[in-house]
Amino acid sequence: MNTDQLIDRLVADVTPVRRLLKPTERAALWTAMALVAVAFGVAWFGIRHDIATAWLEPGVLARIALLASTMWLSIVAAFRLSVPGGETRAFARWWPIALLGVLTAISAAELVAAWAVGAAGSPLRSWTCVRKVAFVGTVPAIVSIVLISRGFAVEPRWTAILGVLAAGAAGALTSELACPIHAPLHVFLWHITPVIVSTAVGALVGTLIVERMLRL
């Protein structure tokens, strides 16, 4: 088929389409869905019994705030990157990564401080927090990749990384709200590390999916 024939075919096929919502609007819808998943996860695993006092702990508050910010900024950046010509500024995509870095640094600092006084905790206790991240994060991750694929991700790898990071942050948020274990080693290994690992693994798989859907 030559280009003129292709144009004729495309013109004949053309039908009105509904314009994609703005990235922030899509991010708001996704976040609402992710918060429902978090609420469902907390209801399923049970809310931490010390929630009344946990709210007063700066460490817990900082982690919840950082995870919520990472989730929001990641998904907004992912949807912005899925609109051609929409976002060229590097800082928009680095912000969520920087927040995850801060979260990791804070948790690592707490771990080192606790280790120094022999109160880091056991690495073997309650590894099932990984299940919380996976249980709650899977659906938002799939939805984010599907929504990203409805656009046109000029940079599939970055877009997939940010989409999966947002979902991982939602999963870790569930762990913070459902798990009462304070031990820094537990928090670092089973709340924060799964976000990093799932982002890395999801980015590989997500990139392949996004790239494949771009070729369709």
Binding site: S82, V83, V154
Partner: protein
Amino acid sequence: MLLAREARGFVGRRVGWAEWAEDVVQEVLLTVHRVRSTYDPARPFAPWFYAIASSRLVDALRSRRRLALREVADDEAVARREAPRAEAHVLSDTLAHAVAGLPRVQREVVSLLKYEDMSVRDVARRLGMSEAAVKTTAHRGYKMLRRTVGDLGEHRPAD
């Protein structure tokens, strides 16, 4: 028709009139048709269109490169015989690959400055960057191109 002309010009300025260039033009048109829901009429059309065109061209260059790596043995035999004549073409293709391998912002800045002959001010306006940022990005892009083209040159079979 207007879009086809734009796409043809965009691709032609970057890779010359290669036989596969028309395939890229068709890919661009198909993609524009398929993802038209992502266009926001409140925003300028050109960045949206060129981002799609640039992405499709990069995809085509990458797949050609993968193909070329697989067919290197045959190519080597032909290249030995036709090396002098093909030298200019190889250099242009190498440069096109190297430009395609730049990070996106650098690629856009270098392409607009060098292939489209746009001024720094026009590039800054189109990409929503400051003129200083355009100059810095272009400088980094040229530096990376020098390094990449140098590396590719060292590994060319004809050498």
